[in-house]
Symmetry: C2
């Protein structure tokens, strides 16, 4: 309240509900335009109200259809919804593949919905940072719920926990080997399991398996992830899925784990941002500053090993020897 | 020569050709056992002689069969070969899946071959670091060539350039959309293209397409990536593949780009190692040191945005306002 004496114009416009200013700011975040940093920074104090829900799972499990169904349900309740789809198959196109990739049925002119597809390839390590910034813009814009869709192979999976307060892992019956190998990893991520394409044979068995596993106490912090079976085309199970998400959000409040989770996420974010600054600064300094360049010379000459060089650069002294 | 007064015992054993000491050291590197760091450090000055060749490409293109064929060829020439397979489908098992995943025909008792399968899942960002250390152990052990196999979806792709002096991108005819989207990325990675499964229809067309693209001058530093068609089962094209790899290695020497490449890789490695140290130190300090903890408190209270907090922590002063 005593802060932000002069709000940058784009920030003010976003707070006033200007969709175009929001879209431009999101594009600038995606393009890593340095001019947008003060805008995102100024809006930070206006964010923190929206619920951020992540949906992750392998390609082809129907996450987009689920998001579509959740969106309809939330809009029917009058909630404003932002959707961020992190799309690993669109390496270059940014938001431009939107029309093809996500078939969101947005009633023309519905100001309560904003969606954005973001490329993930080529931004290793930066997906969570960009997603967080975009989520904050949507949050400050006034969205009540922000749905984040990420593909669950490799890293993105895990990173969804750095962004969302509730993470839904979406699977389908008979996913086979993939689920078997992922299983332990899934339980680290999932606050809610969703078995989508529930109309397929094997859905009940898959849900039963997951429920049994969840009951083995692999759940974290006293929360046992519920398992919900859905069928996006018919809308079956969507109410139950949202109820499970809300139950987890309520659990975060009553258990007082929300603040701890938020603090952990912000700590990780700040650490990652410092790491980026260190890397940028150091990579340049290793070329330009004679003292540091000498250290790299010694590594190249195999007189100093890289770990010892890193110790020298980090703490000013070798850790060993 | 004037260095390393007291070599740690495992390091000495590895230099003496003790396979068991090598295997144990590799396991320790994979387990991130801090006790192995001095061993890897001591062997660093004994590494740098082996040629490190990376093979990357999507799952199912036959990289393991190619490696098998290259291995036979190199052994027939009397060269000692290390193989490192970075396997994204083995999240927990480390080297134990070896037998299933890579069907390397190692003649019993052939001391000139050493192979190792490493899990990649769950080590985001750390694959290159571990692979580099394992490659150095194999190098110090006396291997002439080290073949590194990584799966080319997402990150590992790019990281192979941080490890290998020659990177081979392996594709198959009619890979379709995947190649189309990857294309620009492939040219950033590939020193050599290999169209494997050359017996399939469309192989000639695929090789022609790639050759034309390579001719458009997308190649780096004056090197135009050659395109080789192979068929691992029959061994067809394997001689040509190895010749293309050697041609690139010769190019690195005659163009004097080898040193520049090595310096760039080592600089990136040192920067990454410093980043790790910063993250470990800072994550702890944000909890334990009152001054830093206060900064995190202000971020949690939304009084200070994460970017401003990172500026404060990195440079001691806010970058803006």
């Amino acid at each position: 309240m005593t802060r932000a004496p002069a709000l940058p114009t784009p920030a003010r416009r976003i707070l006033e509900g200007d969709r175009r200013a929001l879209a431009q700011a999101i594009s600038a975040v995606e393009a890593h335009d340095p001019a947008i940093a003060p805008v995102v920074g100024a809006l930070y104090s206006h964010s923190g109200k929206a619920r951020i829900v992540g949906l992750t799972g392998p390609l082809g499990v129907g996450k987009s259809s689920l998001i579509n169904a959740l969106l309809k349900r939330l809009r029917a309740q009058g909630r404003k919804v932002g959707v961020i789809a992190v799309d690993p198959s669109s390496p270059f196109s940014g938001g431009s593949v939107l029309g093809d990739r996500i078939r969101i049925d947005r009633p023309a002119g519905d100001a309560g919905v904003f969606f954005r597809s973001m490329a993930s390839r080529g931004h290793a390590g930066g997906i969570a940072a960009t997603t967080r910034s975009v989520a904050r813009l949507l949050d400050a814009f006034g969205m009540d719920v922000i749905l984040v869709e990420t593909v669950g192979s490799g890293q993105v999976d895990v990173e969804v926990r750095d962004v969302a307060s509730t993470s839904v892992v979406v699977l389908v019956p008979h996913l086979g080997d993939e689920v078997q190998t992922l299983k332990a990893g899934l339980f680290e991520i999932a606050d809610v399991f969703c078995v989508n394409k529930g109309e397929l044979a094997g859905a009940d068995a898959a849900a039963k398996d997951l429920t049994e596993l969840a009951g083995l106490g692999i759940g974290r912090d006293g929360w046992r992830p519920p398992v919900v079976t859905t069928s996006a085309p018919s809308g079956s199970g969507i109410d139950e899925l949202w109820a499970a998400i809300e139950a987890h959000e309520t659990f975060l409040d009553t258990s007082r784990l929300r603040d701890a989770g938020e603090r952990r996420r912000l700590s990780r974010e700040v650490v990652q941002l410092v790491q980026e600054r260190v890397a940028t600064h150091l990579a340049a300094a290793l070329e330009s500053e004679p003292d540091l360049s000498t250290i790299l010379d010694r590594v190249v000459a195999r007189e100093l090993d890289p770990q010892a060089a890193a110790d020298l650069l980090h703490s000013g002294r070798p850790r060993r020897g």
